[in-house]
Symmetry: C2
Subunit: 236 residues, 2 copies
């Protein structure tokens, strides 16, 4: 394995470039959301399907830890499991409830097959590939704060029927203890351990995969609940 | 799957029977240890080889969590990762240091191949089999307090060259927050989730495997460092 001459911060710029077009803020469903053009049923469909993603997060983080022989990395990474299992998952359920959904509609509702396949693939990749790959999939957090800010402003402004206690999840993710802390931990880890060409290629593959995953979640909801049936949903 | 008529506490008695002969307190190496008949080199060889087992514990616990869709189970199980990564692994290193080993001899020393194979198999099984299997492998904790008590008494009494600050690991395992708390969490989980014939068979397989694993760790050390070369070791 070759030590790299490209400084880490330059490498991060390459990663940022990757997300410029492919991050899901460019997706038509996200654009409709921030323009206030989605129906209540469409927003609810998004929350229900995205929950399938939210609920596996602690399991994929545990998969990363199960592959990682470095105690100092595991000590950082475990916070993600604790956060999601202590309140993150619960807060997403409350977001759905603030939109008038029943708890069971969120936790046991119908999930589009392509959402399941994409999310299950994510968990399987974190189990079967290197821990560096798993860690690097979270690099979409480079772009997440802007996405969440756009989302929270739009949801509050343009969808006044959503009760305000629903926004705790996004508020947590935007706080100091949220994405910022998570991302800074990830960058510290990759600065130290992704110092070979092979490891950096792994990071690029991981980020590309994750961008595709988030995009395809929106695709699934967009095709099924916006393009089909004149945008009617079972949650209207 | 069939609901079981055998009450859980009776099932636990079946599990206890399993360990009666097969738990590693019956192993000749353990017996030599408590009789004070091991040389310093033989005890050190045990600590070094056993470290290979200690060091993967948080990874196997993460593997169990990565397979477990139940948030209430994950919330209990994560404590094991935190305990080992916060101090458990470090305390085992200190045990070795209290026996006069250098830190690197413990963390990077030679490990017998059959110890590696056994321990790597443990991690792989926790990744590839059901989370119930993984949880049930810890049922050797049914027998562990007695083993550790015997060990700590013997090590203090019969091996006075071991410095006393080395025993923190065993003292932690014997405390309220140690094995007792871990085991009671495991039994609560299995009482609730291992309520089918299939799940209970999984528990029996898991415990049998784990008994074999612990036994084979002692076999490896016993063959190499007691039976061979008149009991001479590189750590004398």
């Amino acid at each position: 394995m070759v030590e790299l001459e490209v400084p880490f911060e330059e490498f991060v710029n390459t990663l940022r470039e990757l997300g410029k077009d492919k991050y899901h803020t460019n997706h038509p469903f996200h654009k409709l959301m921030i323009e206030g053009k989605l129906t209540p049923g469409q927003i609810r469909a998004w929350v229900i399907n995205r929950f399938y993603y939210q609920r596996i997060l602690p399991m994929k983080d545990a998969a990363i830890i199960s592959n990682c022989p470095f105690i100092e990395v595991r000590r950082v990474w475990i916070k993600r499991i604790i956060n999601h299992d202590s309140w993150g998952i619960e807060m997403w359920i409350r977001l759905g409830e603030a939109m008038g959904l029943e708890r069971e509609q969120i936790t046991q509702g119908y999930v589009l097959p392509s959402v399941k396949f994409a999310v299950d693939t994510y968990l399987n990749l974190c189990k079967s590939r290197s821990w560096i790959f798993g860690v690097a999939t979270t690099l979409t957090e480079l772009f997440a704060p802007q996405a969440i800010e756009e989302r929270i402003v739009a949801l509050k402004d343009k969808y006044p029927w959503i009760r305000s206690e629903g926004f705790e999840y996004f508020e947590w993710r935007l706080s100091e203890k949220g994405i910022r802390e998570d991302l800074s931990g990830t960058l510290d880890i990759l600065r130290k351990y992704a110092n070979t060409l092979e490891a950096r290629r792994e990071c690029i593959k991981a980020l590309s995969f994750k961008l595709d995953l988030l995009w395809s979640l929106l695709d699934a909801v967009y095709y099924e609940y916006v393009l089909k049936n004149d945008g009617k949903t079972p949650y209207d």
